[in-house]
């Protein structure tokens, strides 16, 4: 059978950074998958060197649209370590609180995207409706739905009132009930189990070897979580379980994220219950003494790492960022090797849930033919759903059933 090479990207909706993939097919089987990254390189590390520490808090917050708090926390932790600033406990608790709320909104968003990619759109509608509950809480606490601006060097910028705490606990009860319902669906509905099982397989050995992080690694049985292994903020004071799974596929990644949602609700409750009184910020001089520090943070997608080097001025000498997606993108090639083209959307979406609304095209060049056929992302999406419908996996009934059950 002749081979067909499909370029996907650089504009691609399942990725927060534009990337260019080249997929070599034999029939419908993926023979080879390679990636060219860097299309969204904005020079943020260089830009950090030209700005003051306080400006860099806001700049690092904008590295990612979803893990915004992850990056700003990771950055301020490094700067505070160099400055030797004693951060008030209450500030650390508030950072942890916002961090877990961010994880909840990110994981709920991912569940919806995953549902959409396989044609289970009712799940998308419900999880995104539920996500609004946590978005409202974040807006109430920080004044914004994303890019919260809660961190500053030396602590946090806003306090949590008793009324707000009550609202948060109420929201956690609602979300816990909803999440339990989704877990019930994920573990009982055969359509979903069949569609996600054995798709995007990453063995434990490969996950370790390729340096996978976060839920992608944990769904392959890699028991690593920076929150437990290298505790920061208030994580040493809270009890939680690191959720792992041995399915090694997209189904496992779904179970891990759903399980992590339940753990996050529990962490939020503990934080609210045990939050100490006291100041929320200490004054840190604008000039940071010469030094260096490495800071790690468990972002919703995995380990985020910042390295900061200072030279005694008010601007850093060097800021280095390693975001989790860079570690995970390298596992996608392994996940797709010798798999169906129809699994590509969900496998890519399974490591990274960011979705852009821009129109996107997939060019298809048949071997030996000059002319390029153009396949829109929507067409690839419906092809993937149609393919599985023909192979007996159809979400139409489940969509209807769920609609009815929740009226």
């Amino acid at each position: 059978m002749h081979k067909v090479v499909i370029p996907i990207g650089p504009q691609h909706p399942a990725l927060k950074e534009p990337e260019s993939f080249s997929v070599t097919l034999s029939g419908e089987r993926i023979m080879k998958f390679s990636a060219r990254l860097g299309y969204n390189h904005r020079g943020i590390e260089k830009a950090c060197e030209e700005r003051t520490y306080i400006q860099d808090v806001y700049l690092t917050e904008r590295i990612c649209g979803i893990c915004s708090h992850s990056h700003s926390t990771c950055f301020v932790q490094a700067v505070e370590e160099i400055a030797g600033a004693p951060i008030p406990k209450r500030a650390l608790y508030i950072r942890t609180l916002v961090g877990e709320l961010e994880r909840i909104h990110s994981h709920l968003l991912w569940l919806g995207v995953a549902g959409h990619e396989v044609g289970f759109d009712t799940l998308l509608m419900y999880t995104w409706r539920d996500r609004e509950v946590v978005m409202d809480i974040l807006a109430m606490l920080t004044g914004n739905r994303v890019n919260y601006g809660i961190n500053t060097i030396g602590g946090v910028r806003r306090n949590v009132t008793a009324e707000q705490a009550k609202e948060i606990l109420k929201a956690m009860d609602t979300l816990e009930e909803r999440t339990k319902y989704y877990i019930q669906i994920a573990t009982k509905e055969t359509t979903l189990i069949q569609r996600l099982s054995g798709v995007g397989v990453l063995s434990n050995k490969d996950a370790v070897k390729l340096g996978a992080v976060g839920p992608t690694a944990r769904a392959s049985g890699v028991d690593r979580d920076v929150r437990r292994d290298d505790p920061y903020a208030a994580y040493a004071d809270v009890k939680f379980k690191v959720v792992t799974d041995n399915h090694n596929d997209v189904y496992g990644r779904t179970l891990v994220r759903a399980g992590e949602l339940l753990e996050s609700y529990s962490i939020v409750r503990q934080i609210i219950k045990n939050m100490p009184e006291g100041p929320i910020v200490v004054k840190v001089p604008r000039k940071i003494p010469a030094g260096e520090a490495v800071s790690r943070y468990e972002a919703p997608r995995g380990e985020d790492m910042h390295y900061v080097k200072s030279d005694g001025t008010e601007k850093p000498e060097r800021v280095k960022v390693r975001a989790p997606t860079l570690a995970n993108i390298q596992t996608v090639a392994r996940m797709l090797e010798d798999r169906q083209l129809a699994d590509l959307p969900i496998v890519i979406a399974a490591i990274d849930p960011c979705f852009s609304c821009t129109d996107r095209l997939t060019g298809v060049r048949r071997a030996g033919k000059r002319k390029k056929d153009v396949l829109k992302w929507e067409e690839l999406h419906s092809y993937s759903i149609q393919y599985y419908r023909e192979h007996g996996i159809d979400f139409t009934d489940l969509n209807k059933k769920m609609m009815k059950a929740l009226k």
């Binding site: 860097g38 020079g43 340096g211 520090a293 490495v294 380990e303 390295y307």
Partner: protein, 158 residues
């Protein structure tokens, strides 16, 4: 003796010349300044004997006369060892670590693009992260590199 101190003393026991070149900055953070020609032995020892099996990333630095590289490796118990080497600025040759960590490929390509490192043993591959038409010899993370002022005009093919 804490775990960090025992790692530090094991490093010094095996590589005597590291005496006075390692420091424990805080719990779970060890820094070691390592001569370039013995980097590979020390790195291998850390990965294979001391349990540093997680590669977080490689940081590249412009330190004036030399380029600095920091290999951030971690253990399952959260201890992170930061191995620092210095390479000549004019001919900054470092050895690839993709033999230990295949995922280091992308981090090493980043060092090549942004700092002009020459990575020995890294197979040919797609560059990262700069664009294909980026001018050769321009390394934006070097301190003497300045961004060209933006032109008002938009180039067109016409």
């Amino acid at each position: 003796m804490t775990k960090e101190e025992s790692i530090q003393s094991e490093l010094i026991k095996k590589f005597g010349f590291l005496e006075g070149r390692t420091r424990i900055q805080r719990p779970r953070r060890i820094f070691a300044e390592v001569p370039l020609d013995s980097f590979k032995d020390i790195f291998e020892y850390a990965v294979q004997k001391l349990g540093f099996v997680i590669l977080s990333t490689i940081t590249g630095l412009d330190e004036g006369a030399a380029l600095g590289f920091i290999y951030h490796v971690g253990r399952e118990d959260g201890i992170m060892l930061n191995i620092k080497v210095k390479a000549d600025r004019v001919n900054p040759v470092i050895k690839t670590i993709t033999g230990y960590f295949p995922a280091a490929d992308i981090y090493e390509r980043e060092l090549m693009d942004l700092l002009g490192a020459k990575v020995q043993g890294l197979p040919e591959g797609k560059r990262y992260p700069l664009s294909d038409d980026w001018p050769p010899g321009e390394y934006p993370l070097r301190k003497d590199w300045k961004k060209e002022p933006e032109k008002d005009e938009v180039k067109t093919n016409a």
